[in-house]
Every structure is written in C-alpha cells, then in structure tokens.
Symmetry: C2
Subunit: 453 residues, 2 copies
C-alpha cells in the first residue's frame, strides 16, 4: 500500500545532497569546449582562470567526475533555505479535473526569489576561499544579482553588479534589495568601463542588454586586482551547482516510490532546467530509466526551437569565449518579454548537446498564454509565480489537460523556479489587457544568424 | 543527550493544529465587551451579525471554549503553506557572538507575505459557508488585503478592498497582487461610499487612513445584500485563528524539549503577537509555566506604552463598535512610519487586558533602529524582513546582546511575521540615509486622548 502523499514533501536537513551531480560524466558526446575568441582554440584552464575562480575553472572543465562534494560551508548556507519542498499540486489537479499527478519543485522560498542562490553561494564561497576581494557580474531581471548579493554579504565579499539599464530603471526594488545586501549596482551600459563607453558612443540612449552588461562585468573583473567574474547561467559549473534541485526532487520522490513520467522546465540559459533534470537525465544517459524531458522557452526568444547549433559569442562586446550552443546569434535582440531571465540569445552547451542528441524536447510558449497560466496557478495554488517559471506551468497544465482527455494518470514534475513579487509591472500589463505577444519573423532570425562568427 | 537541532524545525503535515486555542477561556479577567456606539450597551450577537459572519460572531463572543476545531477545508488550505518553520538563527547567534539561543517562527513563506493568511482563509471559509456573495475589508500596508484576496480566490468569493489612498499610490504592486487574485481595490477615501464622500468634503485632498478605510468597508458590507465585513487584526476571532502560529511553534519546541525564556513579537492591532504567544500565555494563565512576553511597538504609535486603557472607537467614521483597549485616541494620526501594519491607534482588547493585568511587557523601537536591525538580519539570516517584523528583530537582538554581557544562555523566540518585498521604498530611504524617526510629543498625545468618547 502506498503512503499518503502530503501537500509538501520536505526532506530532512541531513538529506540535503552532499555532492553535486555532473551530467557530463555520463554523456557519451561531451559538450563542445569553449573557444578563445582570438585564437579559436579551446580555452585552457590558465586562460579561464584570468576570468573565473580557480576551483570553478576546474568544475567548468571537469567532464569525468560524476559527483563533486559540496563543501561544508556551502551546505551550511543551504540549510538556511533548503531542502526546498517538492509540492504535490492537489488543488491544481482538482481544479483541472485531471487524473494526472502534478508535482513542482519550489525554489522561490528565499529572498533572492529563485533558484539562483544555489550557484551564487557556491561561486561566492570559492571566490572567498581563493582570497579574492570581490566578484563582478551582470543581471537582467535581477534574480541572479540579488542572489549573488546575498551570497557575497554572507561571505563578506565585495559585489559589483552591472544591471541592464532598462531593468535598473523599471525595477528599482530589485536594485534596492541588492543595495540592502551591500552590493554596488551600476546601470549598463555605463561610463565606468571602456566597453560601456564604446557602446554608449555607438548607440547613444541605448537601454542596454544582457550581452552588453556581461562585457562590462568581465572588463571590471579582469582589470581589477583581486576580482573575478561570475555568471548565473549557461556555464557547466552553474548546471553542476543547480543539480541540488533535481537531486532533492528525486530523493523526495524516492521516499514515496514515485517516478515522474515527464519533467518540464523553463529554459533561458539553462540553469534551472539543467539542475532540475540532472539526476533523471543521468539515469536516462546510463540507460537505467526513461523520462520525457521538456524545455519551455518563450516564443520571443526560441533558441532551441528556431536557433542554430553553432559556435557563437556569449556577449555583445565579443570579448568572452565562444560556446557551441543553440543560438539566435549574439546580435539578436529579443523583444521586451517580461520573463527577463529567459531573454538570452544562447543556451547551455551541455543542454545544447543533450537536445542535439535527442535526449530532450523543446516547445515555445507565448507571453499572454504564460501569464494566463500564471494567474490561474496563483489563484489555485496560492503562489504568485515568476514569469520565467510560468512557462513551465503553462506546459504542465497543457499536459495535464491532455491526460484528462486520454484518462492517463501520468506523473508530471515541473520546476517552479521562483516568485513574481518583483514582476508586478508585468502582471499589471496582463491584468489591464495591455500585454503583447511577439514572435520573431523568419527574416529577423535569418538576419541575426547570418552574422554568426 | 539532547538531539541536534536543525536550522529549520518543520512539523509534519499531520501535526498542523486541529484546533485553535482561545486564550480568553483561561483568563480570569475577560476582555471587556464591544459596545454599541449608539446605546453604549454590549453588542449582542444579533447586532454583530449584521456586520460579521455568524460563525465568526460566535467565535468573537466565546470566552469559555479553550479549543475550537479548525474545519477540514481550512486545514486543507493551511497545508499549502503550513506548517511554517521554526528557525534556529544559528548565523545570527554566531554573528552576535551571543550565548543566547535565538529562534524565530517564520510566517512569510506565502504569497501574502505574512501571517495574515491564517485568519483570512478562516474568515473567507465562514463567509462561503454562510452562502455569502462576498466580503469587504480595508488594508493599509497591503498584507491583509493580499491575504484576503488569496483566500477569496480560493473559495470563489467576491472581495472588495478599500486601500488607504497613500498606500494605493505608493504601493502599486500590492494593489496589483490583489487584482491578480481577482479582488477589486478602491483607494480610500472614495466617492463610492457616503462616509467616503463626507470625509472628502471635509478634508479635500486627504490621503486617507486605516480608520477611514474601515468606515467605508463597513458601509459597503452593511448596505449590500450578501456581503459582510472582515477585519485582519484587533478582534478576538483574529487572535483565535492566529493561535496556529504559537501552537506550531510550541509543538516544534516540544519535539526537542525546549522551553523559551522570552517571547517577542511586534504589536500593531495584536494579531501576530496574540497568535504567537497564545499557548505560552495559556500555560502562564493556568500557572503551569512562566515566560517573559514582550510586545514591541513603533515609537511613533505607542498604544501600550503611552496610550490609555479606555473605551474608544476602532474607526475614524465612528460607525464601528467601541472597544476597551490601550488607545491613542481614534483621532490620533500616526506619523507615516513605514511599518504600515503597526499604524493603528488601538490594540486588541484581549492583549490590552493581559497587559493591564501584568502578563506581558511592552517596549517601543525607533524606525531607524528597526531598519538597522532589519538590514543586519537580512544579511546574516538571508531573509529580507517586513518592517513590522523587524521591530521584534530589533528587540531580540538587544536581548541577545544582553546575554552576551551576562553570559546567560537564554532561549529567545520572536515572530518573523513576514517579508519586506513590498517595502523596498522604505529600505531605499534607509539606504539613502533619508529615514526619519518621529516620536509624538506628550502634548500631541494628550490632545488626541482628550477626545476619547
């Protein structure tokens, strides 16, 4: 007889994972290496360590170690907000009248409001351990910047955040949380960097982009003694740290002998999706189990579904290494979708390889459909979701409705990456019926892709 | 040997309290009854049921039943966000270098961002059960309005919120969360009510007050078929519902054989404090145990510490019943302190009686000291606290510092009632050094108190 499943499955504190899981160790086709933008040769550890912390460079390049121990200091920090609950969406199931069993792994119960803290604390820890003064980064929607500010406050590291100017102006509260945690926040492009001044000279009045903020943050890290650059998504190291999401979800399922049929996550740079699916993908890669894995991306920024699998720059300034990934071209400027965390032109190299090899599917969702699902979910399950997470909600609801038609009792897991408290301008637009859908034309995509390096 | 105490003590879902605890049953001196503003006679159940739901009137008047069962439908909703964790503030203790053991009961992990949901869902349930169409209420800071909107969305009840105009304008995001949950939100005073029009005529351009919004909400409830008025604090029924906070906290302590030495909570109308202390106060009233219980109020609105224990109106329009409570006078307009939830001129009648009888202490905290404590706490414990809750943090830190001096290993419990995501305008002022402290003069208080009924 199966045990009764509570609304929220919490693991014990002692069951917080003691190691991260590295999907690459089980991949037959490894993700392609980062290339030096000058020589177009694979980046060496030495080259990378000018930009990133040493230990993180090791993790970035490690393709063979399946489990990497989580240092005790990081696990102690995790204890402040983890284990995160695996929630059975009883109320949503009832409202939909579906025989499907819906679960979500909720990562929003911390002040950064998202899963980003899982990697931010790891990156801050290694920076501290290396004896650095501080770190630099960029932030768009602000989730990553907030998470990093919290992590740096904990380890008493200096934190310099370049925030895309349009977000800086539209999201003053995000900026203020970061300041409360002691970070300095500069609107990007700024006059404080060479690359920023160059961009401002070429595009006066620009409101900035993530790619441009990355260029500025990297410049500051490489031009200041005792600083390194840190990034909240895309990189292998980030997916590694985010594997705690999936490891906890799997442990919670195992406690009740449950195996999900499908796993759904939103995908921007891939940090959440890569973390959520990690241990499940591991079983799939090793041929031990099969899962349907679905990436959901915004129709306005469809890297997987309409991009090209090719080497491209990660930043606008073209000073960062090249990555082989599904990309829309580093010159592609996505429409001002409110899911700021999903507005990156590229995608994790690891996820790109897995998608290329057929281990996962990808679908797109339109912005208004996403907010409709978000509001529906908020009213039924009581949590106001982030626009990013709501992409996964939208597809989970669609799949649950299909189960209603077919009568199948499928078990659906999706990632609820964060909360929408700082996204109420977007909700207001939706509530007022003023929200647009924007889908790039084939011609626009072709143009951006024609400029790939 | 004592068990190792985790960072967060979570009860099992089955340990969510099945009954609320009614402190009045164990009080020798019962709180004074509400009086009819016309006749000055105690309000009868019949009179009250024109304003409040029938079952809630029963709870309001019940002075003898110690435990009142929580209906299953409410417990099912509680499961979505409860049990709330009792957190051991290891990081704060370490940072302070105190031998004190600090715990906080965290009620902020739900979309309303505070403990208010505990009573909102109960009040919405009884309204639904009575077959009502909807409810009306007022909100200042917006926590209560958000909580009620969520509760009404769950039970598909109409929800009309009168929001103090200055908050409506300064906190558009609070308004938008309520709209997302389907509530209608009207800035108060408004042209939609008789009392609103009267106030606007007398005070053109006024930015409103809680007392005025109450008057409007009560008018709409009593003039519309199928509507009743609900209130988020002060009332006995609210303290009853909020007892889940204390009951859970006590159960979590009991699991580890811990007994707190002191319990600290912020006090505006008394909903959080009354809930947090309930079972501990019960033991104290029955002579089974002793606890030091400390209410913390803002220096700008010091009902307990500088008010008078007397009958007074709860609203500005003077259409509500009179309550015997510690009050600054219903005409007292507190300075625009950012802890909007603590800006009420009066105090729960139950807590007033307990304070009068010497069962608890009260202290005040200045706004800038409160925000300093808030920021300190945020950086160390990772949670951005609501300004209201930060009053308790401030005094908990003070007490922990005293323990450092004396070497005493006291166990401190405080209520962390909510999060500050919607209070970043206040944090911004603090970060910019633009925050004021305002303490009313004796002359101002005397003037307001001279107009007591």
């Amino acid at each position: 007889m199966s045990k009764e499943i509570p609304y929220k499955i919490y693991l014990d504190e002692k069951d917080i994972p003691s190691s991260w899981y590295n999907m690459r160790a089980d991949m037959k086709n490894k993700p392609a290496p980062l290339l030096n933008p000058g020589t177009r040769q694979p980046m060496t550890a030495q080259e990378l360590s000018g930009v990133f912390c040493e230990e993180l460079v090791k993790q970035e390049l490690d393709e063979t170690t399946p489990y990497i121990e989580i240092p005790q200091e990081i696990r102690d920090f995790y204890k402040m907000y983890r284990p995160a609950p695996l929630v059975r969406a009883y109320c949503l199931e009832k409202k939909l009248g579906t025989p499907a069993k819906i679960y979500y792994k909720f990562e929003g119960n911390n002040t950064s409001g998202s899963h980003k803290l899982n990697s931010a604390i790891a990156q801050a820890y290694y920076a501290k351990k290396q004896g650095l003064k501080g770190v630099t980064t960029e932030t768009g929607a602000g989730q990553w910047g907030t998470a990093l500010s919290m992590a740096c406050a904990y380890f008493e590291l200096d934190c310099k955040v370049f925030m895309v100017k349009v977000s800086y102006e539209q999201k003053p509260f995000r900026r203020e949380v970061m300041r409360t945690y002691g970070a300095s926040v500069t609107p990007s492009p700024s006059e404080t960097t060479e690359v920023g001044r160059k961009i401002l000279a070429e595009h006066p009045g620009t409101t900035g982009s993530l790619g441009c903020a990355i260029s500025e943050a990297v410049e500051v890290a490489t031009h200041n003694e005792g600083y390194r650059y840190v990034l909240g998504s895309v990189l292998n190291q980030v997916l590694l740290h985010q594997s705690v999401i999936g490891l906890e979800a799997k442990a919670a399922f195992d406690k009740y002998g449950i195996r999900p049929d499908m796993i759904i996550g939103c995908a921007g740079g891939g940090s959440n999706l890569g973390g959520l699916i990690a241990p499940f993908m591991g079983e799939k890669l090793r041929g031990e189990a099969d899962y349907r894995i679905i990436a959901v991306e915004p129709a306005s920024c469809p890297s997987f579904t309409r991009g090209k699998y090719a080497y491209d720059f990660c930043d606008t300034g073209m000073i960062c290494p090249l990555a082989k990934m599904y990309t829309l071209g580093s010159g592609f400027i996505p429409a001002p979708n409110h899911a700021g965390g999903l507005r990156f032109h590229g995608m994790s190299t690891t996820l790109s390889q897995l998608y290329h090899d057929g281990y996962m599917e990808a679908v797109t969702a339109k912005q208004t459909d996403v907010f409709e699902a978000a509001e529906y979910f908020a009213r039924v399950e009581g949590i106001l979701p982030a626009p990013e997470s709501s992409h996964a909600i939208k597809v989970a609801i669609d799949e649950a409705k299909k189960c209603k038609e077919t009568g199948e009792e499928k078990t659906i897991l999706f990632g609820l990456t964060g909360t929408g408290y700082f996204d109420l301008v977007a909700y207001e637009k939706f509530n007022n019926g003023e929200m647009d859908d924007y889908i790039p034309t084939d011609a626009e995509l072709e143009e951006a892709l024609s400029r790939l390096p």
